[in-house]
Symmetry: C2
Subunit: 263 residues, 2 copies
Amino acid sequence: MGTPRGGPRGKGLTTEIVVAAALELIDEQGVGAASMRAIASRLGVEAMSLYKHVSTRDGLLDAVVEAIVAELDRDEEVRRDASDGWRDYLERLARGVRRYALAHPHAFPLVTTRPAEAPWINPPLRSLGWIESMLATLASAGFDDEQILFTYRSFNSFLLGYLLMETGARTLRDPQDGDGSLGTSDEPIPGGLTPTRTEAEQDAVAEAETVADKIDPQGDIEIADHPTIHRLAARLAEDRFDEEFDRGLQRLLDAVEARVAHP
Amino acid sequence: MGTPRGGPRGKGLTTEIVVAAALELIDEQGVGAASMRAIASRLGVEAMSLYKHVSTRDGLLDAVVEAIVAELDRDEEVRRDASDGWRDYLERLARGVRRYALAHPHAFPLVTTRPAEAPWINPPLRSLGWIESMLATLASAGFDDEQILFTYRSFNSFLLGYLLMETGARTLRDPQDGDGSLGTSDEPIPGGLTPTRTEAEQDAVAEAETVADKIDPQGDIEIADHPTIHRLAARLAEDRFDEEFDRGLQRLLDAVEARVAHP
DNA sequence: GGGTCAGGCTTACGTTGTAAGCCGCACTGG
DNA sequence: CCAGTGCGGCTTACAACGTAAGCCTGACCC
C-alpha cells in the first residue's frame, strides 16, 4: 500500500541497478567474477546491501538472464508487429536473439543452462511474454497446433545450438592456464611430431590425456594423430558465422514452410 | 589383504576413480553438489587427497567432461566402422551422443559450456579423436572441404541445441520456496506484445518480475496474459523428444545430402 | 637396512554466500 | 512541530568452499 508518493524518494540502489552491475561484471570478466562482494564494491556499497534488493545470488543470476532476454523488448527491429507474415516475424525474432547473445557472450551460457520452471519453457526464448507472442503469431498465421509446436521447438533448438556454438567459439579458455600443474611444458612442443614426453616427469599429476596436452600454446595440433584436422585447420578457423547463421535460419524456415504446406 | 599387491604399486585412489565419483555426484545432485570435500567423503578420504590425482577442481570438471564424451569410445553401436556410408556413420554418432547426454542430464550443460582450447573444438564432440574421425570419414566419403566444414558445424549445432533443450526439460528447477522478495516492486509490468514501454529513464536494464511470479507452484500459468500458451499447455507438455530427434536428424542429413549433391 | 617417494592426512588461509541485527534518515500522521 | 515508522544502508559472524604447505607411513628397490 505504502506507495512512494510526491517527489519520488531519492533512492540509491534499485534491483535494476544491481542487476545491471552484475551483468556488466559478467560481460567483462565472466560469471565467476560476479561475486556479491564484487558487484557491491562496483556500486560503492557493502555486499549485504544487495540483499535488500535481490533475494539470493541465484535469484540475481536469474534476474540477469531475464534482463538479457528482455533486451528483445527494446529491440525495435524485433518489436515491429507481425503484419509482414510469420516468416518475417520469425526471422526478425531470430536475429534479435542472436543480437543479444553476441552482446553478452559470457552470459549466454547462463541463459541456456539455468533451470526453467516448466519443461516447455526453454532458452533462448525464456520469457512467457515472448513465448506467448510467438505461439500466438503462428496461430493467427493459420498454423494448426501441431505445426505451432513443431515450429516452436525447432526454432528454439536451432537458436540454442547455433548461438551456443558461436558464443562458445568466441569465449575460449583463458590461455593463462600455463599454470604449472597441468601443462608444465615450458618448452613448446617441438614442431616435432613425436609426442616424446621426455622428462616432464616432474608433473606429479599424471593426468590422463587431456585435450590440452595435445594442443600447444600456439594452438597447433599434433599432426600425426590428426591429419585431417591438420589439413583443414585453416578452414576450421575461418569465421563464417554470419552467413552460416543466415543459411541455417533459412533452411529452418523452409522446413517449417514445407511442414505447413503438406498435411 | 587390504592392500592389493602384485606387479606395480598397489594403489588405492586413481584419477579415474576420482573422476567417476565426481560424475556420480553430479548425476545425482547436480554440479554444485560436487565439491572437493563431498567427492572425497564419498570415497572415504580427505579432500586434500584428491589433489594427488587432479590438479584443481576445474581440471577435475574438465576430466569429467572428457570422461563423458569418452563414453562414445565404449559405445559399440557408434564404434562400428564407417563402411556403411557417411549417413549411417553420422546417424550412429548422433544417437551415441544423445545416449550419453541423456545418461547425464545434469552434467550435459558442463559439456556444452566449458570453454574449449580452440574455436573449432566444440561440443558435443569435444575430443580431437572424434573430430578427426568425423572429418576423415566425410573426406573419404568424397566430401570436399567446404562440404566437410558445413556438415561438421551443422551437425554440432543441431546436437547441441536439441540435446540441451531435451536435457534442460528433464532437469528443472527445484520447486522450493515462492520467494517473492525479488518482487518488491509495486508496479505490475505489462508483458507480452505491444509492450507500450514508456520511455525508460536512463539505460535501466530491465524490469523485475520473474517468470516464477507468473507460474504458481502447480505449474499453472496465468491464463489472462497468455491465452495461447494456456490453450496449448497440454501439447507443450507432451514428450515428443524421441521422434522429434529422429525427424530433426533426418532433416539435417537430408540437407547435407543436398549440399553434397549440388555444387 | 636404509633411502626414496607415492599417496594418504592435518592444518591453515583467504574467499565465498548469507543469517542476524543495528542504526540513521526521510517521510508520515497527529 | 514532534513522535513514530520502516526503508535501506552497514557491521558482525559463520559455515562451506578451493587449495597451499607440509607431515607421516609404509611399500618398494638396492
